[in-house]
């Protein structure tokens, strides 16, 4: 019997890169693409592109309602993708996996339906919702809207100077008034990996529900939702080598079964008369209308791809490349990292400033050398305000990133400094 080892040495980045056609592209001036924007969206391997194309080319039909052979094939492929995703994240049941269009819709869905609940879980003027200062706007605005609708109070965890969640006030912040705690697992701006366990434990102690934004976590870390302890988890396909247009809301089945629908329409009903309707069981209850069929099939292929590599190996590569980048970037004079500077409990997104050069200009200069980074507030304005900066440049890595690309970034930054004479 062979023993599979997921050691870093067995991880062959060069070979992995061959799976991603776009990584072979050359840009303006015949510069090779150096793609350091995977926290924004990841690239897609050929197997994912093929799965989507093959679905449209050979099996296209609507799901659930088409009785013919193609309909059966499309339904099997769509539901098969749900099985794959459920297995990939260790969901106790496939019926806990709700397909949405992205993480943003998943978070809005959960915030909206929690706001419509009546009875003991009803959210009202005396309720509190707790988020953190490092959330993506997608995990801030839906809760602000919920608070506007219900009169609930929005509160948040602050951040320490080194970019970690400040849990000092945990017991005061999460208290008997708290209805929901919603937080990111891995920050897209700071890179911080948050300690979920103590927060989940405290939230459950006071009867609050926990929503985890795992948009940056599921792509990078081995995930086992069965043991995580959260009540709802959102993530998005396009950051995990899957297509755009597909996201996931996972929820504990007993909770999903209690919740009212989100959007009304086809597929989400049990029966409809002109006066009233009754609703399907989860997950269909939350999937009104023709779903993202081809995108789900693509996401299924994406999780197959990630599983073939092993998420432990992916996580180890991410850690190693992040450690290397943190070290190299700190050699650049005038560069300040916003977020943890050590590769401990840290994901592969590194936001930084360069003295005397605005992030927008940094990204323009890097782009002229084929290096793609993000500049701006990365949909996380409050965390930028917390660190007294208006915007940053951000380099982010993934399973196909090489140390040579990090070297190219460092060289590109030195070139940028020379260009702007700083």
């Amino acid at each position: 019997m062979t023993v599979s080892t997921e050691s870093a040495s067995a991880y062959d980045v060069a070979k992995i890169r061959e799976d991603f056609p776009v990584l072979a592209r050359r840009l303006d001036g015949d510069k090779p693409l150096v793609y350091l924007d995977s926290a924004n969206t990841s690239h897609k391997p050929q197997v994912v592109i093929d799965a989507v194309a093959d679905h449209y080319a050979m099996h296209n039909a609507n799901v659930a309602r088409a009785m013919h052979q193609l309909g059966a094939e499309a339904t099997a492929a769509f539901e098969g993708a749900r099985d794959k995703v459920a297995r990939f994240v260790g969901a106790p049941s496939r019926d806990e996996v709700v397909f949405t269009k992205n993480a943003t819709e998943a978070l809005n869905l959960v915030a909206h339906v929690l706001g419509s609940v009546r009875g003991s879980r009803q959210i009202g003027a005396s309720s509190e919702i707790v988020i953190t200062e490092m959330e993506h706007h997608s995990n801030i605005v839906p809760w602000q809207l919920l608070c506007e609708r219900t009169g609930a109070r929005l509160r948040w965890f602050g951040i320490t100077d080194d970019g970690r969640l400040d849990l000092g006030a945990l017991d005061e912040l999460v208290n008997e008034h708290t209805s929901v705690v919603s937080l990111t697992w891995v920050s897209n701006a700071l890179g911080t990996v948050n300690p979920l366990a103590p927060i989940i434990e405290r939230a459950h102690e006071v009867g609050a529900l926990v929503v985890v934004d795992a948009s940056q976590a599921v792509p990078q870390l081995p995930v086992d939702l069965g043991s995580l302890g959260a009540d709802f988890v959102a993530f998005t396909g396009h950051k995990m080598v899957g297509p755009t247009g597909i996201g996931v809301l996972w929820g504990r089945y007993d909770l999903l079964a209690e919740l009212p629908p989100f959007l009304g329409g086809g597929e989400m009903i049990a029966t409809v008369s002109m006066e009233r309707s009754t609703y399907a069981a989860p997950p269909s209850r939350f999937e009104a209308g023709t779903p993202q069929i081809a995108q789900a099939v693509g996401l299924g292929a994406a999780v197959d791809y990630l599983e073939s590599m092993g998420m432990k190996a992916v996580a180890e590569h991410e850690r190693a490349i992040t450690a290397y980048a943190l070290e190299r970037l700190q050699e650049v004079g005038g560069l300040r990292i916003v977020g943890p500077t050590e590769a401990v409990d840290r994901g592969g997104a590194i936001s930084f400033e360069l003295a005397g050069v605005h992030p927008h200009d940094i990204s323009q200069l890097l782009d002229s050398q084929g290096i793609a980074v993000r500049a701006g507030h990365h949909c996380a304005k409050p965390v930028h305000a917390r660190f007294g900066v208006q915007s940053t440049a951000r380099a982010s890595f993934y399973l196909y990133t090489t140390t040579a690309e990090v070297d190219a970034l460092v060289e590109g930054l030195e070139h940028t400094k020379r260009f702007f004479k700083v």
Binding site: H358, H360, D361, Q364, A375, F420
Partner: protein, 149 residues
């Protein structure tokens, strides 16, 4: 990629030493404009004396293009009549939206001609226009106020 065309020395000079920066009194209208994609921001005040743009003062944060553009605007518009200033705005906008095909008139646009290269970088046009759009908004408000008075 014509980086030197984008970052002309004139632009970098204005960026390093912006003209007329800071918020001043008196003013009739103040606006705050943001470029939501990158977060560049400007607070801009307009002071009119009769039909003349007597002062444009501003506080801004952003990239070299947006900062230099506010500085050039300050040079160009102060002292002009509202009508003439609106004409310069139209010229500058036409230059930005001309995809690099418009030959700017140095007589009228002065240092503003340095922005011709920006027109070839669609993602940066909004940077160059941020302060101009803020000025237009504030000036319309100031003019309306005067008419209502």
């Amino acid at each position: 990629m014509d980086l030197d065309g984008l970052y002309q020395e004139i632009i970098l000079d204005h960026y390093r030493n912006p003209h007329g920066k800071g918020l001043r009194e008196p003013f009739e209208a103040e606006v705050h404009h943001v470029n939501p994609t990158c977060g560049d921001e400007i607070t801009l005040r307009v002071h009119l004396v009769g039909d003349t743009v007597a002062d444009v003062s501003y506080d801004a944060e952003g990239c070299s293009i947006s900062q230099a553009s506010a500085s050039v605007l300050n040079d160009l518009l102060i002292g002009k009549s509202v009508g003439a200033a609106m004409g310069l705005l139209a010229d500058f906008q036409a230059l930005m939206q001309g995809r690099g095909t418009i030959e700017p008139d140095e007589e009228t646009l002065e240092d503003g001609v340095a922005f011709a290269g920006v027109a070839k970088f669609p993602a940066r046009i909004k940077c160059a226009l941020l302060s101009w759009m803020a000025w237009k908004d504030a000036t319309s408000q100031a003019v309306t106020l005067k008419e209502d008075a």
